[in-house]
């Protein structure tokens, strides 16, 4: 059964490298799906907000990684 666990780990690793990035992306997608359409905003602006959130998540994650490197 260990090869099944190993295969599952490999499969997860395709999508998740840094856990905090994956969690933040999933959380933002959940917000986009569940909460954002209920907001009284134009659809175009909501789409732009979706991109802006993803961009912020990536920027924060990269800056944190760079800070960790300089601390070492």
């Amino acid at each position: 059964m260990s090869w099944i666990a190993a295969a599952a780990r490999e499969l997860v690793a395709l999508f998740v490298d840094d856990g905090s990035l994956a969690i933040a992306v999933l959380a933002w997608v959940a917000v986009a799906v569940l909460a954002v359409p209920a907001l009284p905003m134009d659809g175009g602006w909501l789409a732009i907000a979706l991109f802006a959130g993803l961009a912020l998540i990536l920027v924060e994650n990269l800056l944190r990684a760079a800070r960790r490197k300089t601390r070492r």
């Binding site: 992306v25 799906v33 979706l50 990269l62």
Partner: protein
């Protein structure tokens, strides 16, 4: 399923080709190491077995996507593309900025060769099982990524055939280079490719999540090009910013 025009077709084929090129180059390195140390018969046998298993997976799972409602597929595939694309983009930016070391195909080849030449010989019906298993595993591992990318990019936008052709073209290029050179393709600018693929997949992922969530992208399908430009500009800016913050390693994309 809505027909998507050239705004999607070009980036779709390009993303499938480039992503597949990266994956096939990595698989070729290990298959070459297996062939050089344990013999070509078992190396090619493991490769063929891996390709056959992948084909069965695609045939079995591919049509299942068509039975799921479109918005759900868009959301599911979009989210997975985002996770996959942003993971590649993050790593490529950090490598380009010198925060983490670049992937070295020659070093990977040497490590694999060293490992395989020290493994004991176990024969089964004339096949070297260690060699078959090593070749099978790498073809499956890299191949599953290719299959995911092709299905994700192609199935949702109705461009499965062009995306598949992009991947097949990459396979032919890598096989041809492997036969001609007979050594790892160390000169392929792997991080630059991963950087571009990360940008493309992140853009597709964001687009499909938006579509699945019922958001209206300004410019409809053409917004995919704006998303690609926006992710590219952001990624390039982050390389500069992270390079300024990080220390050391000099090589860049």
């Amino acid at each position: 399923m809505a027909m998507i025009g050239w705004a999607h077709a070009g980036p779709s084929v390009l993303a499938a080709f480039l992503a597949s090129l990266v994956e096939f180059v990595e698989a070729l390195t290990v298959v070459l190491a297996v062939g050089a140390t344990r013999g070509w018969r078992s190396a090619l046998g493991g490769t063929a077995l891996g390709l056959l298993t992948l084909a069965i997976l695609v045939i079995a799972l591919g049509p299942a996507l068509a039975r799921i409602p479109l918005t759900l597929v868009q959301l599911m595939v979009g989210t997975l593309l985002l996770l996959f694309g942003l993971r590649w983009l993050r790593k490529a930016i950090l490598r380009a900025a010198g925060i983490i070391p670049l992937h070295d195909e020659l070093a990977a080849y040497r490590a694999e060769t060293d490992l395989l030449s020290h493994s004991s010989l176990r024969m089964l019906a004339g096949w070297d099982t260690v060699a078959v298993a090593a070749a099978f595993k790498i073809v499956m591992l890299e191949g599953i990524e290719v299959v995911f990318i092709v299905i994700a990019i192609g199935a949702v936008s109705g461009l499965l055939v062009p995306a598949g052709l992009g991947a097949a073209a990459a396979l032919l290029v890598v096989i041809a280079l492997g036969i001609v050179l007979h050594r790892p393709l160390a000169r392929i600018p792997e991080n630059t490719l991963k950087f571009l693929v990360g940008v493309l997949l992140s853009a597709f992922g964001a687009f499909w999540v938006g579509e699945g969530a019922g958001l209206a992208w300004p410019g409809a399908d053409w917004s995919i090009l704006s998303l690609i430009a926006a992710f590219l500009a952001l990624a390039l800016a982050m390389v500069v910013l992270c390079r300024g913050r990080g220390a050391g390693m000099e090589r860049s994309i």
